[in-house]
């Protein structure tokens, strides 16, 4: 098991103590919302501001040249993490949400025609639903939804039926943020290719592209975009120990090349005249304006930290905790786990009989336990399971069995209060 709480300053301070009381340690169980930051990331960003900060990709002075090198170096690290063919396939965005919006507004608006179909799953985050809804309003394309069974597992036989020659985009998450289900994305991409491969001779076979929302996967398991054969892979820096404000869109070179700019501005152009403007090649075509320079550098430090821990070790650690936590929570008779797929990542979503998730969240907070309560930006998922909201404990590599023991004890206490 990993033992890395010491690397995270916030996990080593005490909260809520007043005169005479020492305060409480934090049991942080909301890593699916955002992860805490290791000292190495905090110090890297601090040092960069103090010693190396300058604009990127335009300064002729050494400070800017060095900043540019560090900034672009993160791109190489991301490409390596994903096993991308080239760092040119790595677009900096502000987060998963912007990554998906970029694909919807650039690729979607250019290629979608009335009647074309976008396949989403029932268990998507709103960030992988609403951008597509906005695009269907502009293009006349329609959204079809892949159903799930009662465990929260996608029903692949239904997915197979939904895949037709009209399917142009499949957008699914790798791991559900509300349930923890690990979706069989490699198989789903293979099925999409079979059902609707690109055929230049046949105008009805325009091919479907597949976007994977990797917000909940990249810091928990090894992701190889070439092995998956994903066309797009989107994720956020702040859910993988990096800062907020920086995210990644991976896109296959040929597809990114075919896409128009999504936002216009500085840094994404080759030549601007009022008669005609030409654009940079990807990835810079999609990076208008001064970017989140220090956040990119911070993400680089987060990737180093991730490499230092090792994704295999993280996955093993979190899986052991998931098994432990599942057993612990299953022993509470009033508790119903929502999301019991055989393939699950480290997310425990649940309801307590007679206690609303918000009350659970507030009362656990008194014990120093931070969980998420609500619909997790996945209201269709809540509707599917017939609950308005759930409480969700989500794990990171810094969690340990003591965090889960505290959770179970806290829940038993709440049941007593509400009895």
């Amino acid at each position: 098991m990993l033992n890395i709480k010491a690397d995270f300053p916030v996990l080593n301070r005490l909260f809520g103590g007043d005169a005479g009381e020492p305060g409480m340690a934090l049991h942080y169980l909301d890593s699916a919302a955002t992860t805490q930051k290791p000292l190495s990331v905090i110090e890297t960003m601090d040092r960069f501001y103090r010693e190396s900060y300058g604009t990127v990709r335009r300064g002729v002075y050494r400070l800017s040249e060095k900043a540019t090198a560090e900034y672009e170096n993160t791109r190489k690290k991301v490409a390596k993490l994903l096993n991308a063919a080239s760092e040119k396939e790595i677009v900096y965005t502000s987060g998963t949400t912007q990554s998906i919006n970029l694909v919807a507004y650039s690729y979607g608006r250019k290629f979608l025609k009335p009647g074309d179909e976008i396949l989403l799953s029932t268990i998507e985050h709103h960030a992988n639903i609403v951008p597509w809804q906005l695009i269907t309003e502009m293009t006349g394309a329609v959204i079809k939804v892949i159903p799930v069974d009662d465990t929260g597992t996608l029903i692949l036989s239904e997915y197979a039926k939904l895949l037709t020659e009209r399917t142009r985009i499949v957008a699914v998450n790798h791991v559900s943020n509300a349930l923890g289900t690990i979706n069989p994305v490699k198989e789903m991409i293979r099925m999409a290719r079979q059902a609707n491969h690109f055929n230049p001779q046949d105008p009805t076979r325009r091919g479907a592209v597949v976007l994977i929302d990797g917000a909940q996967s990249v810091s928990h398991m090894k992701v190889d975009v070439r092995d998956l054969d994903a066309d797009f892979y989107a994720f956020s820096g702040h859910k993988m120990f990096g800062p907020t404000g920086i995210g990644i869109l991976y896109g296959k070179s040929a597809i990114l090349e075919s896409m128009p700019p999504y936002q216009g501005g500085g840094d994404m152009i080759e030549r601007v005249t009022f008669a005609r403007t030409t654009y940079q090649k990807p990835p810079h075509r999609f990076e208008a304006g001064t970017p989140a320079i220090v956040e990119v550098v911070g993400l680089g430090a987060a990737l180093d930290y991730l490499a230092h821990l090792g994704l295999d070790r993280i996955a093993a650690h979190e899986n052991a905790l998931l098994q432990y936590g599942t057993r612990l929570l299953s022993e509470i008779p009033e508790l119903r786990l929502i999301g019991t797929a055989p393939h699950k990542a480290s997310i425990l979503s649940f309801t307590l009989e007679g206690v609303h998730p918000h009350d659970i969240g507030t009362l656990l907070d008194e014990e120093g336990i931070a969980i998420r309560a609500g619909h997790h930006c996945a209201q269709p998922t809540m509707d599917r399971f017939g609950v308005p909201a759930t409480a969700r404990a989500s794990l990171g590599p810094y969690n340990d069995t003591a965090d889960l023991d505290a959770l179970a004890a806290g829940l038993r206490k709440i049941i007593e209060v509400f009895r």
């Binding site: 918000h358 009350d359 609500g374 619909h375 308005p388 209060v417 509400f418």
Partner: protein, 151 residues
């Protein structure tokens, strides 16, 4: 459980478990569905107001946490027999109390036992739970079919 002790008092827990006026008024003068978009909770408020402007019956149904349910339950018992103008000024007092602008310990209010909800001001994320029913009430009085805590 120190801070929460003030919020999750027996009275509130009791109203959560056995909410009063938890029913539909089929021929209600007004009804309004209140939403809290932050959490997805919603309640429907039913209101009968006589020609004299007096609230003769008020009830609710819906889904929410202990705070929103108890607040709705206690609000309905408190409002019966009051005029719609009184209800509007009570909304203002209640709202000011839960956001911390009105302290019932030092300032005079007309909120009676509803001052139990003053503890909510300590929880910025829960203020809208306590005020959801009140937003639905205001919506109903203004003849809206839906209201939101984001107004």
């Amino acid at each position: 459980m120190s801070r929460s002790h003030e919020l999750y008092q027996q009275v509130i827990l009791d109203h959560n478990k056995n909410p009063r006026n938890y029913r539909v008024i089929p021929d209600a003068t007004y009804s309004c569905e209140g939403h809290n978009p932050l959490c997805g909770d919603h309640i429907t408020l039913f209101l009968n107001v006589g020609a004299d402007g007096i609230i003769s019956d008020v009830s609710f149904q819906g889904n929410g946490c202990a705070i929103s349910k108890a607040s709705a339950s206690m609000m309905t018992t408190f409002l019966k027999g009051k005029s719609s103008d009184e209800a509007k000024s009570l909304f203002k007092e209640f709202h000011d109390m839960v956001i911390g602008d009105l302290d019932p310990d030092v300032q005079e209010t007309h909120l009676g036992k509803l001052t139990l909800f003053k503890g909510v001001r300590e929880y910025s994320s829960r203020i809208k739970c306590a005020s959801l029913a009140w937003h639905a009430l205001m919506g109903a009085l203004e003849k809206q079919v839906s209201a939101t805590t984001e107004a």
